[in-house]
């Protein structure tokens, strides 16, 4: 009979192989799903994965990958720091919204003045907005032991209501004929998070994402805090002996993930989205959770995973319009990806042994 035995050390080979196996398995089962829906599975898989990268209009889609992937990577990096330490920030969506509101608010406060200081100020404001929203669950956890999963999640709904309130009230465009939504920041040069090199999709958010990847890598590999995070995640009691202060870690991890999520929101609202609207948030905060796990909570992994997720989104859109694939199929596809990853992850930490069990 087959038994599951814990490995003394996580297997590096499987650590790298698991995501790839997960993608392959998703392609197979996803293809089955598409076939059941009456679509040609091979065509669908090719449309989703190949076409945006190498297809006819790839020159357009490849920059879109960066645009779609940047917020995912930025948020996921922040989340991964916490997840590694067992601190579960599920409210990144709310922090994203608050960052966007603070950032856009800061920018609009200066309208119509032009200055090179406005965008940096917006960056600071956006980071602050996300940070403070994440500080609420952080402080509550440190002071009262309240579960951060639930508090951060409830705050997502609160943030959504704030978004609606701002779109209809304080941030509403006075020249907008009464319609909800702020001024379009894409039309306000000082506040526009424009592409740095035209046609590449690289805006400041993309740059920030890359910096975040490097920052997280260095933090985890070299810095005391990174060590504290890793140890707390793997062996909480050993961490206490090593002098790690759990409260500090909670404040740092939640604060950092909030800050990064807020930044992502701010870059998005002043760049690709352009406006503060009631439906501004599209779920990046939740998708980033998948990205974080898909990337094995490792900065470089997250970078790749973020791009992969972006690929499924963009490929999914193409599949919708070209093949008539329903939008929900892509959501199932993404959920499957996470499922398979979690399943294959077993082999990273455990191995199978054939034969009888030994009695201790």
């Amino acid at each position: 009979m087959i038994t599951v035995v814990k490995r003394p050390e996580p297997s590096r080979a499987f650590s790298l192989a698991a995501p790839l196996l997960a993608v392959l398995a998703t392609m197979v089962f996803g293809g089955l799903l598409f076939a059941l829906l009456g679509k040609d599975p091979l065509a669908a898989i090719v449309t989703i994965f190949w076409e945006p990268l190498f297809g006819e209009f790839a020159f357009f889609y490849r920059p879109q990958l960066l645009i779609k992937g940047a917020p995912l990577v930025l948020i996921a990096i922040g989340l991964s720091l916490g997840f590694k330490a067992g601190i579960w920030n599920i409210g990144a969506e709310g922090q994203y919204i608050m960052g966007a509101l603070f950032g856009a608010g800061a920018g609009l406060a200066f309208y119509p003045a032009e200055s090179i200081f406005i965008l940096p100020l917006m960056v600071l404001a956006g980071a602050f907005g996300g940070w403070i929203w994440a500080m609420i669950p952080a402080v509550l956890k440190v002071k009262f032991g309240t579960n951060e999963i639930l508090v951060s999640l409830m705050l997502v709904y609160v943030a959504e209501q704030f978004l609606a309130s701002m779109s209809l009230g304080l941030l509403k465009n006075p020249e907008g004929f009464g319609f909800p939504g702020s001024r379009n920041l894409q039309q306000y040069p000082s506040a526009h998070n424009a592409e740095l090199i035209a046609g590449t999709g690289m805006h400041w958010g993309v740059v920030a994402a890359m910096i975040a990847v490097i920052f997280a890598y260095v933090l985890l590999a070299r810095h005391r805090l990174g060590f504290a995070i890793r140890v707390t995640g793997q062996a909480p009691r050993a961490a206490a002996f090593a002098g790690v202060r759990p409260a500090r870690l909670v404040l740092f991890c939640l604060g950092m993930s909030g800050l990064l999520a807020g930044l992502a929101g701010m870059f998005e609202v002043s760049g690709p989205a352009g406006q503060v609207t009631i439906d501004f948030n599209v779920g990046y905060g939740f998708t980033a959770i998948i990205v974080a796990f898909l990337g094995r909570l490792h900065p470089v992994g997250i970078l790749l995973a973020g791009l992969l997720m972006a690929l499924t989104y963009i490929g999914g859109d193409i599949a919708q319009s070209k093949l008539g694939l329903p939008a929900a199929a892509i959501q199932v596809f993404q959920g499957m990806l996470l499922f398979f990853l979690l399943a294959f992850d077993l082999f990273t930490n455990y191995r199978l042994r054939l034969g009888r069990t030994e009695v201790a």
Binding site: L140, F144, N147, L150, V158, Q161, P326, L338, F339, L342
Partner: protein, 306 residues
């Protein structure tokens, strides 16, 4: 502004309907957590139940059959979670999230051809003269069968947990899975059964929304109710009757903000809409001071070393 427009009796009666999905989902999750598993996939299981129940009710013409199918659908989806966490030893938080995402997407797929369809009606139970009692009648005796089933579920779960051997075993597994294993209890089996029960209950809660409360099917129609149910379990300190209290409080708040709007109260809508969530946070803070009531092994992966 005309607060007299709010009819207090109808207002209180409306709590029961608003609270029922929460009661089902939270009670199911309570059992799961008592066994030591944190299943964040409640939202996914609820919406699976909503579509399974809806589709079955429409196809068969019987709402009751729909509810049965909803329980089955929720339980089936929860099996995926059980497989991941008990067999593949995956992280429970991530698995629960995966379940929610998958459930939302899969239900949307299944429900493609059911949008806008009218489901068969489930009538309110007829208590005859009891419904005519002035205040108590409309409040307590004029609801449909499922509302009363929900109340019954809470009582049954409480009784099983407190008085039966199975309940004791479940609680033991949840408190300390290593000790329970050493005593010979089948930890994984108990947890899997608990997970399936939670899935079935969540499915019933979801079906209540799609078959009675709205009643219609739309993608994502549970709109976060599953997450509220998770919060409720903590709010209730893992005690069944407190789940009831929390569900009525929350349901009541949602109804209150709608009623206040209708009565022309000048508080901006968004702040009223925020209030149930803010209130939940406040309550969570106060209650988390007594964190000792959480099951000892909650969220930890169990892997027998022998």
């Amino acid at each position: 502004m005309d607060l007299s427009a709010i009819n207090p009796i109808l207002f209180v009666a409306s709590f029961f309907v608003a609270a029922t999905p929460l009661i089902f989902a939270a009670t199911g999750e309570l059992v799961v957590e008592k066994s030591g598993v944190l299943n964040l996939g409640v939202e996914g299981m609820m919406i699976m139940g909503a579509i399974c129940g809806f589709a079955t009710a429409v196809e068969s013409g019987s709402p009751l059959l729909g509810f049965a199918a909803a329980a089955a659908g929720g339980a089936a989806l929860s099996l995926l979670f059980a497989f991941l966490t008990q067999v593949m030893l995956a992280n429970q938080v991530a698995s629960g999230l995966a379940l929610t995402l998958f459930g939302l997407g899969f239900s949307a797929l299944l429900g493609q051809s059911y949008v806008g369809v009218k489901p068969p009606r489930m009538a309110d139970l007829d208590f005859g003269p009891l419904s005519d009692i002035p205040v108590l009648g409309p409040v307590f005796f004029s609801h449909d069968l499922i509302v009363y089933l929900g109340l019954g579920l809470v009582v049954v779960v409480w009784a099983v947990l407190k008085f039966t051997r199975a309940g004791l075993t479940l609680r033991a597994v949840g408190e300390n899975h290593d000790a329970a294993h050493a005593l010979g209890f089948k930890v994984k089996r108990m947890r899997t059964l608990a997970i399936m029960f939670g899935g079935a209950c969540a499915g019933l809660g979801g079906a209540y929304i799609s078959l009675i409360r709205v009643p219609q099917w739309t993608e994502g129609m549970t709109a976060g109710v599953g997450w509220i149910a998770l919060a409720l379990v903590v709010f209730a300190s893992w005690r069944p009757f407190r789940v009831l209290l929390g569900a009525y409080l929350f349901g009541g708040l949602v109804q209150l903000q709608l009623n206040l709007q209708g009565a022309g109260v000048a508080i901006p809508v968004e702040y009223l809409a925020m209030s149930p969530y803010v209130f939940t946070i406040v309550v969570l803070v106060f209650l988390s001071r007594s964190r000792s009531s959480a099951p000892g092994s909650l969220g930890r992966i169990f892997h027998a070393s022998s």
